[in-house]
Amino acid sequence: MRSVTGKPSKFDAFVDKLKKESPIHISKRVDMPAWKQWLIRLAAIVVALFICAIITVSEGGDFGGFFVQLGNANFMQLRNFIVLLQETAILLLIALAITPAFKMKFWNIGAEGQVLMGGLMCATCMFYLGGKMSNSALIVVMLIASIAGGAIWAVIPALFKAKWNTNETLFTLMLNYIAMGLISFVLTIWVRSGSGVLGVLRYGQFPRIGNQPYVLNIIIVAIITVLIWIYLRFSKHGYELSVVGESINTAKYIGISVPKVIIRTMLLSGALCGIAGWLLVGGTSYSITTNTAGGRGFTAILISWLGHFEPISMVVFSLIAAFLSKGASQVALTYHLSGSFPEIITSIFFFAIIACEFFNNYKVKFNFAHFKKSKEQGGEATTAVISDSEREDGEKGIEDTAEEHIEQPTSEGAALEGKDLEGEVTE
């Protein structure tokens, strides 16, 4: 970065030299239009699919068949499609649940445990209250208990963070395992035979709509998605938590009570995870195991990040993730591939998507002058005298990139200012 006076400092000279001599120059970019970003992501998905198809062929599958099976698995029958939507819905709900906390830069990786605690509370109601009240009343009680379960599990690390500034990442991670341990413990009490299999609980099952399972889950998640989108985008709470995320000092300065925001946001986060547990136990499995959340609490972190904390983008990513995971199972089944094939496919997908985010965030520039030079000089020492014309080329390149470096903070500042204004308007 250039010094304020415009005169090149020693450091600038060093950077200039580095730029001239390195064949590739990478700089941060902030001006990528959304449609271009999506184009890059689309390209990444296509590339990922091609790699997956090639892997399938190398394992004895069929290139075209790979794509056909992906489609078949998800759309062949109504049931396949509903299962796809159900998987999407649950993953999306958990991603939505952790998003407010992530926006606040509170690294809640305890969604798995919060979902399980919601589910455990739900199963507890089904186990002990089943048959003692009407089914609809039981479902409402289950909902309240699940929300409480998830919220309590989330607010514990929030309280510690707010009071003693403990590390929330470790704290929430550990709570996942405690939740699993609690479920194992409860199962040994409930299942007296010792098999560890609770089996389907008769009471408190969500009703089917149109004789199809999971439809109610999908509707509920669709509604919650819209609500969260509104909450994050238009409410004062949503604004406050993004300020806390940007800068705690700014938040303090403009009179936001940071501990209050942390606790409130984690309560919301946990409550939503609790609802996910409610849907998983009451509306999906009618039972509980330590595997009920099935790692979705962790996948959801990816979804939330990839979607840049935007609910609508998260819908797209959770849909693609669910689509691929279901599709890959079908491919594995068709071509008699190993049981780990679906995991390989989804990993490649996530890898490609994360890799493409690099191009969304950074500009990669090739220093052609460097290539030309080394070609002309036949690989002689690069620090040799540089001709005038080349010198000019180099200067120009540096000028461009230097501008970007200066631009970056100002444009971010502008964005922040804009947000400030927006915030005032909403108030």
């Binding site: 049931r79 035979s193 509604i223 919650i224 195991t289 595997n291 190993s338």
Partner: protein
């Protein structure tokens, strides 16, 4: 002020949406599927399409056993490869119901599931698709549910376990344990790594232990549970812990290679289950038993082709070829095969009862004719059925005669459960 209004609106919307959702749902709540007619068509051989749902994949010895048997059965029945569809890594949860539904969608008309916890979800599918035959290994509810298209199956694997116990007993004798042996130790301790402490596992290790004790009467056993069907680390650690506690021979009923590899590393003889582990444990592998599921697969398919009903409870035996011994390891005691042949003969012609009341005690006392077992599954797991009957040589606990899945879940003297 606006924020207040907004938050109130949000909360109201949330509550309203949930209520509406429930209301929509509850209207369809009382349509109990009363009109359910089971229509099981007689299948043409070319129309047979089998679906198999596995808890894990080939890395699990348990699931590999099911998958291998399916291939054998397919060849024996003369079916094409496309007539069998195998879904692997299906957890014991709603994914099992989804998998079954999808298999039906793929045109499967006979569906098998291999894990205990699959049962309730397979039952959901069986209820929903009354034209498809659903068979569930190790389950307990088919007889009482009486769905008409949902069946349980198991095998008298306690006989196989007992035989495997005999292999172990002979090996102990060969190592110098037992009365008058060179080790001067009449009460050697053996170890057992179990998955879950319920009847299927308990019946298995008890029969195995009785097999050991038929050769070394003073032997004792310690059992630990991993509370998982497949957890290589936990199983390996459990085996190592048992070895450290002084167990001189190990067996297991959990599905990974954990215990056999631990034994190979410490040079402790091992009796396995499902598949031979001699490839990775050549020195310490002695032998083991397995359920060969091929006869059951073939039975079901042949019944379907004939349009004949399938039994709610199928118990494969030594006679049907369902209970098998794995090939013996290279380090078994001399004369093992001859001894086994002799016992197999007795078991086949019914002159030996493994759970003979004279061969074990519970809390110092012999069982009586009034002994009950939990045969009819209910929420409280109440013992409900008399299970002691006259056997070949006096009274015996009759395992697997009242239903296919094991129900012997007593803790007999001589076995110590190491519960955390």
């Amino acid at each position: 002020m606006k924020k207040r209004i907004l938050s109130i609106v949000l909360i109201v919307a949330l509550v309203a949406s949930l209520t509406i959702g429930l209301a929509i749902g509850l209207t369809g709540c009382d349509d109990t599927p009363a009109a359910r007619e089971v229509k099981l068509a007689k299948l043409d051989k070319t129309a047979v399409k089998i679906g198999l749902i596995c808890l894990h994949d080939e890395n699990s010895t348990y699931d590999k056993n099911f998958i291998d048997a399916m291939e054998t059965a397919r060849q024996n029945l003369g079916l094409t490869e496309s007539q069998v569809v195998i879904k692997k890594n299906i957890p014991e949860g709603p994914a099992c119901y989804d998998a079954a539904s999808e298999l039906v969608g793929l045109g499967c008309n006979i569906i098998f599931a291999d894990s205990f916890g699959h049962e309730d979800y397979i039952m959901q599918a069986a209820w929903e698709f009354p034209t498809v035959r659903f068979c569930h290994a190790t389950g307990t509810k088919a007889r009482t549910a009486n769905y008409g298209n949902f069946y349980n199956a198991f095998a008298s694997i306690y006989e196989g376990r007992y035989l495997a116990g005999v292999i172990a007993g002979l090996k102990l004798q060969d190592m110098g344990y037992g009365e008058g042996g060179s080790k001067n130790n009449a009460a050697p301790k053996v170890g057992y790594v179990g998955a879950f402490p319920y009847a299927e596992v308990k019946s298995g290790y008890t029969s195995w232990f009785l097999g050991v004790r038929s050769i070394i009467p003073g032997a004792t056993m310690e059992v630990t549970f991993t509370n998982s069907w497949l957890d290589e680390t936990a199983e390996k650690n459990a085996a190592n812990a048992l070895i450290d506690r002084g167990c001189v021979l190990i067996s297991q009923h959990a599905d990974s290679w954990g215990a056999p590899t631990a034994c190979e590393e410490k040079n402790i003889p091992n009796i396995t289950y499902n598949i031979s582990t001699s490839s990775k444990a050549p020195e310490t592998y002695l032998g083991g038993s397995r359920i060969n599921w091929a006869p059951y697969y073939e039975y079901v398919v042949n019944q379907a082709i004939a349009g004949a009903p399938i039994a709610y409870d199928y118990v494969g035996t030594l006679k049907t070829g369902s209970v098998e011994l794995l090939p013996l390891g290279k380090n078994v005691a001399e004369g093992t095969q001859a001894k086994l042949d002799e016992i197999i003969e007795k078991l086949k012609n019914g002159t030996l009862d493994i759970f003979d009341l004279d061969s074990f005690t519970v809390k110092g006392a012999k069982l009586t004719e009034l002994q009950l077992a939990d045969v009819v599954t209910d929420d409280a797991f109440t013992p409900d059925t008399l299970v002691v009957e006259n056997g070949a040589d006096g009274l015996a606990f009759k395992e697997s005669s009242k239903r296919s899945a094991p129900y012997f879940d007593l803790d007999i003297d001589g076995i110590t459960l190491l519960m955390d």
